[in-house]
């Protein structure tokens, strides 16, 4: 089966030596929920724009077998996108928004959309400007989930929402939308919030993909060990990817270390994605030789 997205050496350069993407290569398979995670300015939005055909980039890019820049219109029949929650026009009524999407999108189901909305407080007669930020997000999600698209792209979908709406957002996505024939690509800063939802993770830094793994592989690769002072040198000798201190102990993060050698060092735990993210992003950057 062909992947939903295959990107090879994507590069986007502004001016002479400012890179938004630098030879970024990755593949997204069908039926996966993939998190694209990176600090501000790492290239997340540039990558998404390229995937949606909104921005020409260098390199090879195929989305559902199509070239997004050249075949954008055909591609958009199969791809949905939620950027910021506030892009619906403020004057539009809920019912008009439904009419509009039905008019422009061949794969939109009015019945599905209305069924989603029936479970919220949102009335069809309301205008977008009368809705709370959380309700606008619900409306947006209802419109998008009613589109039978193969790829859903979410760019910071829960930004600025309170915890109840955030939880509801992902609950709807998993309970009413996602299935093995659909694929979701999501970027967010709320790593803790989505880490258990993801099947795969891509870390992006300075336009480069610095980690590309399934969540299963992450669980097997990374181990955190609490080490006492007297064992610190022994731990460093095993090549940890990060060290921090907590309660007077040294906490080392190991990537693909030999479990038998870690066994005697101290108490172990499975680090969260946020721990791995911080460790990956705080490592010294790759040598700048490529651009110097």
């Amino acid at each position: 089966m062909t992947p939903v997205i295959s990107a090879s050496r994507l590069t986007k350069r502004y001016g002479k030596d400012t890179f938004a993407l630098r030879e970024a290569s990755f593949t997204v398979e069908s039926g996966r929920i993939v998190g694209l995670i990176g600090p501000n300015g790492a290239g997340k939005t540039t990558a998404l724009k390229a995937i949606l055909g909104l921005l020409p980039v260098e390199g090879e890019l195929r989305v559902l077998g199509m070239d997004p820049a050249a075949e954008r219109e055909r591609l958009m029949e199969q791809v949905s996108f939620i950027a910021d929650v506030a892009v619906l026009p403020r004057w539009i009524r809920v019912s008009e928004a439904i009419d509009y999407v039905e008019g422009v999108h061949p794969r939109f189901s009015r019945a599905k959309c209305q069924a989603f909305l029936a479970r919220t407080e949102i009335k069809p007669i309301r205008r977008v400007r009368e809705l709370s930020k959380g309700m606008v997000a619900q409306l947006h999600l209802a419109l998008v989930m009613a589109i039978d698209a193969r790829l859903l792209v979410l760019d910071e979908p829960t930004l600025g929402l309170d915890i109840l709406y955030r939880k509801q957002f992902y609950e709807s996505l998993l309970g009413d939308y996602f299935d093995a024939d659909k694929t979701i690509l999501v970027t967010t800063h709320q790593v803790e919030e989505i880490e258990h939802i993801l099947s795969d993770v891509l870390f992006i830094r300075d336009g480069r993909i610095v980690l590309d793994a399934t969540m299963d592989a992450i669980g097997e690769r990374f181990v955190e060990v609490m080490v006492g002072r007297e064992q610190r040198e022994a731990a460093i000798a095993l090549g940890p990817v990060n060290e921090r201190t907590a309660f007077g102990k040294h906490v080392f993060l190991f990537d693909a270390a030999d479990p038998s050698r870690l066994a005697g060092l101290g108490e172990q735990r499975r680090p969260g994605l946020a721990d791995i993210f911080v460790a990956t992003m705080s490592r010294p950057a790759a040598p700048a030789g490529a651009s110097a």
């Binding site: 929920i33 915890i163 955030r166 939880k167 992902y170 609950e171 709807s172 998993l174 309970g175 009413d176 996602f178 093995a180 803790e192 919030e193 258990h196 939802i197 993801l198 099947s199 969540m215 669980g219 172990q268 735990r269 499975r270 680090p271 969260g272």
Partner: protein, 123 residues
């Protein structure tokens, strides 16, 4: 914001343990359906693959069975199977640890038993 998972064990194993606990305390009985993968995935905000893995493990252990197109059901004798296994685990793992702890604290086993209310009294 999701359920409290510990960071020592993979989540699918913790999910399996929750189902096992529900069968042991009989809130899930033989013939009962497990909630669908989709339902659990949405409720606990987990990837469906994680939920499927937990269910698959229970199926491999002979605790639940998959009925085509209907989902997972608790098998007859599931509780007995689990009880036997849990009893064995108690004897080999928990009891030795507990006796060591009792000895450490200087308790006399007979004395403790005498202090314990007999279960018949509350029945």
């Amino acid at each position: 914001m999701s359920s409290s998972w510990n960071d020592h064990t993979p989540i699918y194993i913790q999910l399996r343990q929750r189902v096992v606990a529900m069968i042991l305390d009989q809130s899930l009985q033989h013939g009962d359906a497990l909630p669908s993968v989709r339902q659990v995935s949405a409720e606990f905000q987990l990837n469906p693959i994680t939920v499927s893995k937990a269910y698959q493990q229970l199926a491999d252990e002979g605790i639940v069975e998959k009925r085509r197109g209907m989902g997972m059901y608790v098998l007859d004798g599931a509780r007995q199977t689990l009880l036997a296994r849990e009893r064995q685990r108690f004897l080999t793992e928990e009891w030795p640890a507990l006796t060591r702890r009792l000895a450490l604290l200087g308790f006399d086993l007979a004395e403790l038993i005498a202090r314990t209310t007999k279960p018949e009294e509350s029945a």
